[in-house]
Symmetry: C2
Subunit: 359 residues, 2 copies
């Protein structure tokens, strides 16, 4: 078990990571909450509720189910969950636990941040991406049309509990998808985690919890460090967007049907690595090493049939764009990125063309 | 012109109140915003846009219209406004001005607090209630079904600008409705404002701006003082709920069709005054004086035909209820209220019965 501390302006909370992390939830059993709710997905709950309730001791907590999938990240679903909470008697002193992947965490977090103007929230992430990334840092949100997280909030949870055992029930593709975010964190953080991944990534099954745990903790620490230095993403936090500018456009152009989020980030990393090389910000040797690590995760869904114009047109709609100018996070070397706002469109198109060739 | 300062944990903002208040918006013209949007209602904009644009100097700002009425306070409308903002190119450095009454302020504030996880907000209230109460203090929200403000946020604006001239175009009933909230503030604040109202309230037309201005400023100051001492309403801020526990139930039981919000608060004040008297917390002489001031505002829509059981059943659903217990804000004397949580249901029913007799 590792405990990482997130510090922000006026608040802090812990990330408990490792086997038995759910036991930390026992502190909430007699903490004076009027009621405790768990927003989750039905299949996940069927598989893990027994362990969750035993470890957490929260036997009186009530589970509320949302359908699996990105479509649940909608204002409509916010209304449905809030309505259900009201019906079940949730009030301002209720606690909401979001038990699930990025969808449940983002939706549940947004509901907690807005239900009666904010109730206490615990994130209990159950996917790789959620454990090392999305459940940490207080970002919540829902999509509007094709625009991801257009409506959301910054809302620090009381606690994050990441139990790696749940990862054993992930489908192999979903598990691998999360590894792309770990690669992203390795590129941001530096040689130690990067080398560890180079050694282990190819042979890391979700069932090998003891090999997984230290990698998850190192990857989560990257996120914790960044958000602790900058709770709102205006500045430093932007680096976490590495690979996501292209990634979001790929998800959007395929209506979120082709790529898992991590897979879109995987392509996004390959694209931004290539862009860095084209801009001569990144040496070919480092670019190759980074790209090799991305490829090592496994096969990615095809890119080749996508219309470059349609993809490129979606780029300026990225939420991090300011006045229509994209803030590109470009790797310079392992452990270092640079924000670049004046990338010539021809170079962006060129990078897309180059990577698409190899797809 | 009066300037009041709201201070909270980690932020502060000014409330500019009086003729010419919109001129304070000039500071935003060259403040580096990528774009400026005004969420408002069409009729209001037609009537006041010329003065607003001239005083504020914000000629490049773009108006977005929402339909008048409480129904616009919905998650659906949040999605529509956010979609429109996206379509018009709003990004994280955009400014949103909510120009309107409580509905526009609550909805616009919520949109600003959640669009791309929060953009800058200015409140430009145009009704009495909004100028002295709802636009101050950072509360935003939308309704869910019949539950008012079930989904919302605490989100301090950059500035509040209250131009009393707009009140001259209010319908007489809408204008009067706001005076009930001023009476509420007078009961909370003490004898000075209370006496001033006793002298002037009967003969205060919306057209008499110079007589109105100091009263608006005194009433707004009550709100500023309370929220500055307690930005989140857990404690002190609860006193502002005076008259609202009954008021919300009355609005809900009539599906928001019969009473304007202030009118429901008017009845709510009469009911809570009577309850205070029944509980022997409030002396008959003070109760009478308070009730007289409420009645002085003008006629209220009928109460007599409402089923007491249906009204009383809605009371525990008030958002301020904790574990199903209502936190009653009961006047003890002019300038003093007490929070009471253990009011016998028979006394509540009795107060409703008594006031209903007189309706």
């Amino acid at each position: 078990m590792q405990r990482l501390r997130v510090k922000g302006g006026g608040f802090h909370y812990d990330v408990e990571m490792g086997r038995g992390a759910w036991r930390s939830l026992r502190q909430f059993r007699d903490a004076g909450y009027s009621s405790i709710f768990i927003v989750t997905e039905k299949l996940l709950w069927q598989r893990w509720s027994k362990l969750f309730l035993r470890d957490s001791g929260l036997r009186k907590a009530r589970a509320l189910f949302v359908p699996a999938g990105e479509n649940s990240k909608s204002l409509n679903m916010v209304g449905r969950v809030a309505g259900k909470l009201l019906e079940c008697g949730a009030d301002r002193r209720s606690l909401l636990i979001a038990l699930g992947g990025g969808v449940v965490g983002d939706l549940g977090g947004f509901v907690a941040s807005t239900y009666m103007r904010g109730i206490d929230l615990v994130q209990a992430p159950t996917t790789v991406v959620a454990q090392v990334d999305s459940a940490i840092g207080g970002k919540t949100g829902v999509n509007l049309g094709a625009m991801k997280n257009l409506v959301g909030s910054f809302y620090p949870p009381r606690l994050v509990v990441a139990e790696p055992l749940v990862l054993t029930s992930l489908a192999p593709r979903a598990f691998r998808s999360g590894l792309y975010e770990i690669v992203k964190h390795a590129i941001l953080s530096g040689r130690t985690l990067f080398r560890e991944l180079e050694e282990k990534l190819g042979s890391l099954p979700s069932s090998n919890i003891s090999a997984l745990e230290p990698i998850l903790a190192s990857a989560a620490k990257v996120k914790v460090d960044v958000v602790s230095r900058d709770e709102r993403e205006a500045h430093l936090r932007l680096v976490l967007n590495l690979g996501h500018t292209f990634g979001h456009a790929l998800e959007e152009v395929t209506a979120y049907r082709r790529f898992l989020h991590g897979e879109a980030v995987g392509w996004g990393l390959l694209l931004i690595i290539r862009l860095g090389e084209r801009l001569k910000l990144l040496r070919p040797r480092d670019a190759e090493r980074m790209a090799r690590l991305v490829r090592q995760v496994g096969p990615l869904p095809p890119l080749r049939d996508l219309d470059p114009k349609r993809v490129l047109r979606l780029l300026p709609r990225d939420k991090k764009a300011i006045g229509g100018r994209i803030q590109w996070v470009v790797p310079e070397r392992i452990g270092k990125v640079r924000i670049v706002t004046d990338v010539p469109p021809a170079e962006v198109a060129g990078a897309f063309h180059d990577v698409r060739q190899t797809a």
